[in-house]
């Protein structure tokens, strides 16, 4: 054996029987150390170092973390045990956990926001003058008087509901029944109903959704019913809601931003809106 070969096994040799190396290799190494003063000294130093390690281990044997740490951890474990079993409602889970495609969630959220913006922009487009005049003609000169009317007269089928027509009544039944049927079951019973949470949006609780609060956009009445619907919580600047003619409750009227729920079809177009009183 040469010195450089000895160097490769010197640590194992210094550890003695504790390290499993080939017996013949061990014997060859030890024989080399007997004949080579430099390697013998090297082996002695490594053995001395091991002795130093053993002394250090022995000295530190009683060292341990302070008892307060165990108490802290125990308290944390108990608190954790209380919190862990709370189940997450399945309906609030927006997307299944897919770590490899985590970006898809954000991409879909961004697409949803764009679609909402597009839909709202369409809703805010000024009406053609003749159509607007017709709607103004339908409007009562004193809205407060009309609000007191207990049973609004249902609009004829050919007269599609408009935002302005809806403005004076919170009663959803004032809108055509066909539209009402389209929306109500999907909101309350569709198991595929999802809620999207993006940015300032809040997760809507399905049990709180009530179709009667929603106001249908005028263009939505002429659109085919969507296959699926979603509720999206959006904060609107108050001044942007005013042109839609949506009544804002007194309690939140002085806010700059009003929470609303948009009913968005699977095609991304908002169909109806409601103001959230919180």
């Amino acid at each position: 054996m040469r010195c450089l070969e000895f160097e490769k096994i010197v640590i194992d040799l210094a550890h003695g029987e504790a390290r499993l190396i080939d017996i013949s290799q061990r014997q060859t190494g030890l024989a080399h150390a007997e004949n080579c003063a430099r390697c013998a000294a090297r082996l002695a130093n490594e053995k001395a170092l091991n002795q130093g390690f053993r002394q250090l281990i022995k000295t530190d044997a009683a060292l341990a973390a302070a008892p307060k740490i165990e108490a802290t951890l125990l308290a944390a474990f108990r608190n954790r045990a209380v919190v862990t079993p709370v189940p997450v409602p399945a309906k609030v889970l927006v997307f299944p956990a897919r770590p490899r495609f985590y970006w898809a969630k954000w991409a879909m959220a961004a697409a949803a926001v764009l679609l909402i913006a597009f839909g709202v922009a369409r809703a805010l487009q000024p009406q053609p003058p003749d159509k607007a005049n017709d709607k103004i003609a339908q409007q009562s000169p004193t809205p407060t008087v009309k609000e007191e009317t207990p049973a609004p007269v249902p609009a004829p089928r050919e007269q599609q509901p408009s935002v302005i027509a809806v403005r004076n009544s919170n009663n959803f039944s004032a809108k055509p029944k066909a539209i009402k049927r389209n929306f109500v079951p999907k909101l309350q019973h569709n198991p595929d109903h999802v809620t999207v949470e993006v940015g300032q949006f809040e997760v809507a609780e399905p049990e709180q959704i009530s179709a009667k609060d929603f106001m249908v956009f005028d263009y939505a009445a002429t659109m085919p019913p969507p296959e699926r619907s979603q509720i999206m919580r959006v904060k609107f600047p108050r001044e942007n809601l005013a042109p839609l003619g949506i009544p804002i409750p007194v309690q939140i009227r002085n806010r700059d931003f009003i929470n609303t729920d948009l009913l968005v079809g699977s095609d991304g177009v908002p169909r109806a809106i409601r103001v959230v009183n919180k």
Partner: protein, 197 residues
């Protein structure tokens, strides 16, 4: 009950019970490994405060992120030491209190082989312990951690490789270099002891 679990159950068994919410299993795991983790962090950082913080953090991670441990990838103790190493290094980097030898380019050659006849053997026990402890603390971190794991915590090369996230061969070569550095560092102390005697 806890003491019984400490003796009777394997780490993985205790871990499963802890995951299921068994408090005594968690305590059993803590009592089984806390001293080793504490000493590992202490030897790595040289600070009792850091060692205590690291020990607490390791078991907090164990209880809160239990799903991260995969028994197929390594032993629980390697997993715990891995967390401890990460936490200790993070804390040391933050505190910047450690001094490192500027000898990362140190190569083990035949020139480092000493001609002195076992000079370290004459160190008194107290001197030896202090000298070895100090010498370890001034090793570069990547050498220090391998010495602490393999020589002081007595982990196998495989477990140490698992903790460090490197190959067993890397552990062996780092250990070899680290020990060479320690011998060089301790030689003057040994010489002084010899001169005194």
């Amino acid at each position: 009950m806890t003491a019984q679990k400490t003796n009777e159950h394997s780490d993985d068994e205790l871990f499963r019970q802890m995951k299921a919410g068994d408090e005594s299993a968690f305590i059993a795991l803590y009592r089984r490994w806390q001293d080793g983790i504490y000493r590992f962090a202490l030897r790595l950082s040289g600070s009792e405060t850091v060692a205590e913080d690291v020990t607490q953090e390791v078991f907090m991670v164990l209880m809160n992120d239990a799903s991260r441990y995969d028994s197929g990838k390594g032993s629980l103790v390697a997993y715990l030491y891995g967390i401890a190493r990460f936490q200790a290094l993070k804390r040391m980097q933050k505190d910047r209190t450690m001094i490192s030898l500027d000898d990362d380019d140190w190569e083990f050659t035949s020139d480092h082989l000493t001609m002195n006849a076992d000079p370290l053997l004459d160190l008194s026990r107290q001197e030896m312990v202090k000298s070895v402890r100090d010498a370890i603390l001034v090793l570069p971190v990547h050498y220090r951690e391998v010495v602490v794991l393999c020589e002081l915590q007595e982990l196998s090369y495989a477990d140490a490789a698992n903790v460090l996230g490197c190959a067993i061969g890397t552990v062996r070569s780092r250990l070899h270099r680290a020990r060479g550095l320690l011998v060089d560092k301790l030689r003057p102390v040994a010489d002084q002891a010899l001169a005194r005697n």
